[in-house]
């Protein structure tokens, strides 16, 4: 039995189990509940700090909802099992941290190539390598974009609070389903373990999506075609008698391998890119504060966006025209908007918990007459309002 | 001087070995620059097999053959597939027994030497397998792209131990034929 998450029985179960209201919970738990509300009924994972609470919440809750929790032998097995389950029609997720994310890179590429919807949560911790296992960081920004080999597009979201994680996870599932693609959630160790007030909504408030299925035999025969012109082929699930062939090798629209014809590769990989590029409206999202008249723009993401907002508010109190731009979908980067904003401001500050990653994206979209500066901090402690404010004052 | 050479046929005819020997003769024994590439398509598993050598007296920028100056076709499939990539006026060797259907109209723009290469090889050495070496011999003297001595040394380097003499016999027969061709006697 394949559960999509929006069946009356499932809605009934959700209503019975999760009363709407405010709860005090960890970011990891909020994220897991988001997945549950989004219809995720298959989780395969492997223990790793600081993501383990997501697994533990799923292990506790999924069986109640007729869902499956699997602990695999490693992270490679986890993402593999997810892809397998997704092809049977389940909505699937795994959560890990940097070292596990590194291990998953090969199969993440497989999921991109085979257009398998899945949600992969990377609770970033301080690295490289084993680093500071319990400390948060934002060092996997570019790994999420470029970690697997070969030409590939990717969608990655990054929530800024526990509450946000709940909703962004639902959005991640919706994007994954709608565009038949893996979606990476760049969470972090700080938010993962922070307990905050999280409002669990009424089930009716949550809108969820399920992948396009083939409407007829014809469509099912082209699991990697583009019958609707939106770059997203319907997904002929296993077990429906379609005899679908799925491969990570370069394949034709019918799924059969052809690794020798340059045009076949060109057509496939360009569609994969186009599918993401032309459906910006499905995933592009950012937040703006005081950008209308800002002279100094702070661009930030994830956990750092919060002290950044604090700093901008304080700066405003001091009469400095500061503004804040927060990409919520960090890949593909909202470059057009960045370009527009970049034209209007004098200086751009990019605070992040790494030695400078998103700033390189920003740099691509602004001209050299804008002062661009990173505010970088590593070591596991989030940037403070004061630290960011000091830099704002410095360029004011 | 940039010369592009194409060898093509089917698996087992020694197409790739021929290209390696030519490249080696040019690069190691003539002091020229040479690049050898081969296709790793499905052809390498039974279908048409193709190898290219680019030879030049200056460093070679683009490493692939765009419009071969010299070409050898050992099978119908190879002939039909790659003939049209050669440059006008190119010198082309065709295994006439294995390429029954030829485009004589197109060949008018080329210098074509069509010979029953496999048969000649067998008659010369008793081994049809030496056809590729025979062809190298023809190419050497017909085009002058490398010298005889260089070609002999490169051949000895590359063929299996114990088969040197047989292969040299094939090569020298090729020299003879190429010489004749150059003089317009074939």
């Amino acid at each position: 039995m394949i559960i999509r998450g929006d069946e009356p029985e499932q809605i009934g179960l959700l209503k019975k189990l999760y009363k709407p209201g405010n709860y005090f919970m960890q970011g990891n738990e909020a994220l897991a509940y988001g997945a549950i509300f989004a219809g995720c009924r298959f989780y395969a994972g492997y223990p790793i700090t600081p993501s383990s609470e997501i697994a533990e919440t799923m292990a506790r809750e999924l069986p109640k909802l007729q869902g499956y929790y699997l602990q695999m032998e490693d992270e490679i097995g986890s993402i593999a099992a997810m892809v397998g389950a997704s092809w049977t029609g389940l909505k699937v997720m795994t959560a890990t941290s940097g070292p596990g994310f590194s291990l998953m890179q090969e199969n993440l590429g497989y999921a991109i190539m085979t257009e398998t919807p899945l949600v992969l949560v990377d609770v970033q911790r301080s690295g490289p390598s084993t680093g500071q296992a319990t400390k948060g960081a934002q060092g996997d920004f570019f790994q999420a974009r470029w970690g697997t080999h070969g030409d590939h597009p990717i969608v990655a979201l990054s929530p800024i609070s526990g509450q946000d994680a709940f909703w962004e996870t639902i959005r991640a599932f919706n994007i994954a389903e709608k565009l038949r693609t893996p979606v990476v959630m760049l969470f972090d160790g700080v938010l993962a373990h922070t307990r905050e007030l999280v409002r669990i909504p009424d089930v009716e408030e949550v809108e969820i999506t399920y992948r396009k299925l083939p409407r007829n035999e014809e469509e099912a025969k082209l699991p990697f075609g583009d019958p609707h012109g939106d770059g997203v082929p319907p997904m002929p699930l296993f077990g429906h008698g379609y005899f679908t062939h799925v491969t990570g090798s370069t394949h034709k629209e019918n799924g059969l391998r052809d690794v020798y014809t340059p045009e076949v590769h060109d057509k496939l990989v360009r569609r994969l890119h186009r599918k993401i590029e032309q459906n910006k409206d499905v995933y592009e999202k950012y937040e703006e504060h005081f950008t209308d008249d800002a002279e100094i723009l702070v661009v930030s993401w994830g956990v750092t966006a919060r002290p950044a907002l604090g700093a901008v508010l304080k700066a405003r109190e001091e009469g400095i025209k500061a503004g804040l731009f927060v990409p919520k979908t960090v890949h593909p980067f909202p470059g057009e908007r960045m370009r527009e904003l970049g034209k209007r401001v004098r200086a751009i500050l990019v605070p992040e918990m790494n030695l400078g990653q998103m700033i390189l994206e920003v740099q691509r979209f602004v001209n050299d007459d804008v002062l661009l500066r990173g505010i970088n901090k590593i070591g596991g402690v989030p940037l403070t309002v004061e630290e960011i404010l000091r830099e704002i004052r410095g360029v004011a | 001087m940039r010369k592009e050479v194409l060898f093509s046929g089917f698996g087992g005819q020694g197409v790739i070995l021929a290209s390696v020997i030519l490249g080696r003769a040019a690069a190691v024994y003539e002091g020229l620059y040479a690049v050898q590439t081969q296709s790793y398509g499905p052809e390498s598993r039974g279908g048409a097999s193709k190898a290219e050598v680019v030879i030049s007296d200056e460093p070679i920028d683009y490493p692939k053959a765009l419009h071969p100056d010299y070409a050898a076709f050992f099978s119908q499939e190879a002939y039909s597939k790659y003939l049209y990539t050669v440059r006008e006026g190119a010198k082309v060797i065709v295994e006439s027994d294995l390429v029954p259907n030829r485009d004589f109209e197109f060949e008018k723009k080329l210098e074509v030497l069509a010979l029953p290469l496999t048969r000649i090889a067998e008659e010369t050495t008793g081994l049809s397998l030496t056809m590729n070496i025979l062809t190298l011999g023809i190419l050497t003297t017909w085009t002058g792209i490398v010298g005889r001595e260089a070609m002999e040394k490169a051949t000895v380097d590359a063929v299996p131990r114990g088969t040197e003499q047989i292969n040299l016999r094939a090569l020298r027969k090729g020299f003879e034929l190429g010489e004749k061709a150059r003089k317009g006697l074939l």
Binding site: Q66, I76, G77, A80, V92, G239, N254, L256 | R45
Partner: protein, 284 residues
């Protein structure tokens, strides 16, 4: 003439015609395995719609993928069983079959093989053991016999081959058997049993790769390799009475285990039932 025999081959209905001919070299044992598998499916009267075939990377991964006409998932190197685990959980009523090679399943994928056997998940694995990495050009595999030559052990293999069937039997599989491509009837019977048994089943098939293995080990012809298999095969009942030294270089064939053990997906669903019962969620 050859064409006629081809079209009369009754099991062609199980093959994906647009993908033919296969990419397997002449004399490869993969064809025998594909044939045995199709025969087993046919004899059991299984509907291919109830099959999902999963494979990894390598020549043997191509045996059923894409040539067998069912849902086929061709995955990354070594991970087929982990992918299959997800498929089986999602589709517990379907037969999930993994057909792949020794390098794929027992080298890079060895861990997934072990853990699937431990879980005893209801997946049938047909492991084609040809002692070599064929696709990449004949490198050493963890199954390469001691002393054999490969491109990465040019002076002979100094490592000991992994005894796959023995290891998987002790890891907890429900059904394990080993045959060679010279034992086609037994092979078909074992595949049938493996497809029927509830739990993890492994059929290891010793198979010939004349091009990459045989050629480098003085057996250029497929027939020579089959003769080698036949000459060195020892039935398991006899092998039990033999010493380790006597068994050096032999292929122990037969059924290693055939037992009932709790199966993973059944246990998982049982657990879900109990949890739902416990929280009063049944019948919602």
């Amino acid at each position: 003439m050859a064409k006629e025999i081809y079209s009369k081959y009754p099991l062609i209905k199980y093959l994906r015609k647009e993908a033919l001919p296969t990419a397997l070299c002449p004399g490869c044992g993969g064809g025998t395995v594909l044939n045995a598998f199709a025969n087993a499916v046919d004899q059991l009267k299984l509907d291919p719609k109830d099959l999902v075939v999963v494979s990894g990377i390598g020549c043997s991964a191509w045996i059923a993928s894409p040539y067998f006409l069912a849902d086929t998932l061709h995955t990354t190197h070594g991970r087929a069983i982990a992918f299959a685990t997800g498929v089986k959980v999602g589709l517990p009523d379907k037969k999930v079959v993994v057909i792949s090679g020794d390098g794929d399943l027992a080298s890079i994928g060895g861990n997934h093989l072990l853990h699937a056997a431990r879980r005893n998940i209801d997946i049938t694995v047909i492991l084609v053991n040809n002692f070599i990495y064929g696709m990449t050009g004949g490198q050493l595999a963890p199954t390469t016999p001691f002393g054999a030559k490969t491109t990465t052990s040019p002076y002979r293999n100094i490592e000991h081959p992994l005894k796959i069937s023995e290891t998987i039997a002790s890891a907890g599989a429900s059904y394990v058997a080993r045959w060679t491509t010279a034992h086609v009837y037994q092979l078909i019977e074992s595949i049938k049993k493996a497809l029927t048994v509830k739990g993890f089943s492994l059929v290891e098939v010793i198979s010939q790769c004349p091009v990459q293995y045989g050629r480098r080990n003085r057996m250029k012809e497929p027939a020579e390799m089959l003769r080698w298999f036949l000459k060195n095969s020892v039935p398991i009942s006899k092998a039990r009475k033999m010493s380790e030294e006597e068994l050096e270089g032999k292929f122990v064939i037969g059924e290693f285990v055939n037992r009932e053990r709790p199966e993973f997906v059944t246990e998982l669903n049982k657990l879900i039932d109990e949890v739902q019962e416990h929280f009063g969620l049944k019948g919602e």
